[in-house]
Symmetry: D2
Subunit: 241 residues, 4 copies
Amino acid sequence: MIKVTVWNEFQHEKTDADVAAIYPKGIHGAIAEFLGRNEEIQVRTATLDDPDCGLTQDVLDDTDVLIWWGHMAHDRVPDDVVVRVKESVLKGMGMIFLHSGHHSKPFKALMGTTCNLTWREDGDMERVWVTAPAHPIVQGIGRYFELDGEETYGEPFGIPEPDEVIMIGWFSGGEVFRSGCTFHRGNGKIFYFQPGHETFPIFYNENVQKIIHNAVYWAKPVLRIPELLCPHVKKPGTENE
Amino acid sequence: MIKVTVWNEFQHEKTDADVAAIYPKGIHGAIAEFLGRNEEIQVRTATLDDPDCGLTQDVLDDTDVLIWWGHMAHDRVPDDVVVRVKESVLKGMGMIFLHSGHHSKPFKALMGTTCNLTWREDGDMERVWVTAPAHPIVQGIGRYFELDGEETYGEPFGIPEPDEVIMIGWFSGGEVFRSGCTFHRGNGKIFYFQPGHETFPIFYNENVQKIIHNAVYWAKPVLRIPELLCPHVKKPGTENE
Amino acid sequence: MIKVTVWNEFQHEKTDADVAAIYPKGIHGAIAEFLGRNEEIQVRTATLDDPDCGLTQDVLDDTDVLIWWGHMAHDRVPDDVVVRVKESVLKGMGMIFLHSGHHSKPFKALMGTTCNLTWREDGDMERVWVTAPAHPIVQGIGRYFELDGEETYGEPFGIPEPDEVIMIGWFSGGEVFRSGCTFHRGNGKIFYFQPGHETFPIFYNENVQKIIHNAVYWAKPVLRIPELLCPHVKKPGTENE
Amino acid sequence: MIKVTVWNEFQHEKTDADVAAIYPKGIHGAIAEFLGRNEEIQVRTATLDDPDCGLTQDVLDDTDVLIWWGHMAHDRVPDDVVVRVKESVLKGMGMIFLHSGHHSKPFKALMGTTCNLTWREDGDMERVWVTAPAHPIVQGIGRYFELDGEETYGEPFGIPEPDEVIMIGWFSGGEVFRSGCTFHRGNGKIFYFQPGHETFPIFYNENVQKIIHNAVYWAKPVLRIPELLCPHVKKPGTENE
């Protein structure tokens, strides 16, 4: 059993009728639904307006993989929540950042960089190319898949060099973007995945669903520790080490 | 001309006679002295007790490479100074973190990890091995160099995978440590160098001096930008792009 | 079921009584024995003196993970065997190189570098430190483990920057070495593990066995392809693509 | 003074009138011409039909940076030349591989992988995006530059994870490609740059020229050694070490 928490800012869906029409149960609801079809995955959701953003220490300790979507209200996530999330990753929790989550506080805190990019909203077609065919996250995807419309993200993307660039996006208007990037930080694995603008039905796309589903398996913890320590030690091999 | 600012917490030297005896002008003074012998390098120093830690935006904008030593008072560095330093690196400033600077706020903010390690103070001899002989930072160093006494740092070192591990330390008591690590974040280059405990005359060692001197040249900016932007763009090739 | 082929040069055991006394069934026999205790692993062995080194295309196609030990007869491995092994890795087969396998033809062909190092045979004690505690290969190992006697390997180790350095060795005589290194090349995963000199009973050590056992699981293929192609393609999205 | 040798297969120009019309002095001649305008660079050329491909040990020992263009006759480069070139890089010589040089023997030998890709010849427009604006090789280039026509290269590109992906190409027909990749192997630095098909006047493009010119400076040796050794050593610190 893999325990997944899907966190969504859940603001656009409450204030924008077009977005609400696409995601009547919220983006978190859409993601929880397709992941929940797998009986090995136990899904919970949490949103910005929940107490403590729904991300208490108890919830995080009980989460194997945290999925994060945020956009218009990054600043409203309290810093203590950010610290808890970041430290949970360093202890071993897996984390998947979607689309505009590139500018979320936890992603920026884990990367240490601006995570800036260029962007346009012209409804470009995007073709997402697989650059690392043997990576577990892209199994079942062909050479590429297409999204009829998506917000355009462009390079340079202000991230540290990823462990692997596993997908690169081609936009019909002329940009490219490192759309699938893996990182590990402390004991935790991190996957950034670019598709997912709120005004397009991206999370109903079967390739997008397959990739997120694969990423849940890839990101689940190998080792999880209770505390982050910088220990004073004895000389190795001494009796009271 | 390379403009270097040497930042030292400068607390041990004021409160501990043994440290003061080793570094009568402070650790920053010792570093500034050997760097200043090179006429191509213009050195300035700054310390914790200076207004704004001596690190105003003007000083940072006028600094090519910032060297950082801190240990007992990491928490007293104000967060706005940390943000300024971090953003200066992302804009292009080079940065060298020495020894216990692994736990400084700017290093942790740039790495996104705990930067934890294990440690002992038993006066171990350290032999620092060069693992990347062609790296600019280790030119003039042989296969290894030795420090008669040093605080022992041990793995695991809680950092992201470095761009290159260029030195590994062997401690007589039994530990190993990735003692020389390079990173790049945004436009800036970062070097972490492990030797330099305050109770040993490490910064008078000619190999240590040569390495820091080389690192200044290595870390100086290639490109420096005035602002960190996430721009809304026009379609490439359009008239008003 | 994971299909493992253990390849051993198998020369020292035939010509040196001391080695034969330690490994009466050969190094391959010792490794096959402890892996074979796990019913999920199906082990086969192959040696230099077998026809085609025991590594026909059929054998390789039927191998998930190939383990390689060689030392005194690297040059006697025919080039066509080397090409088959290398291409099998690029197609997806996992591979584990042990100890002096650093100078085997397949390892050098996959790395593209000299794979040189420094070495001494003084019976040093080695303490192998875990530097990446969350890596699957080191699960069940503590902070470190010790080998009473081992050939000493020292830096610089002439390899490309590994994906991850997961272990570093400390030798009582004064050297350090990147003892556990992971790489991926094409579709295949590669693990280099330094312990295993033929004159010491290294492969009976329970930590060494645990690490090799873990590595078999880690290296097993995610994707395996029948051919290595550089295809002429049609424009994406066209009918006859 | 930087000593550059430009190696060109020089076959298309002799057999194809269209190519000869674009490059009357050969591709090597065109590259040598723009590099030679800089008085700090001393350029020599060499081609496949020269004795020893023009790449004797003396020539290589006297070369700081070797530039390589090849396409239709990769197999005609003798293996001993390949070994010499590869070993020169590992000793410290810089190397720049252009376009179809991705399938040259020296590139494949240094990478250890297939270096395969997908390709089409439909005269696509290519827009090359800078993904690492602070890298020395892309200084003076804007956010991107365009090539009116170029052979299309597509992912997946069968290389080891580069040190840095500094450019990504967008092709009008729909593909993406990691067009600028840096590596280091042994003491040598390697740059792969995708533009340069023989049927387009790519090497007269000012951005392409600027990038190759920058790359020459970037790739010049930091350390160059006369021999590749795997030395038997004495214990460090012993008298006769």
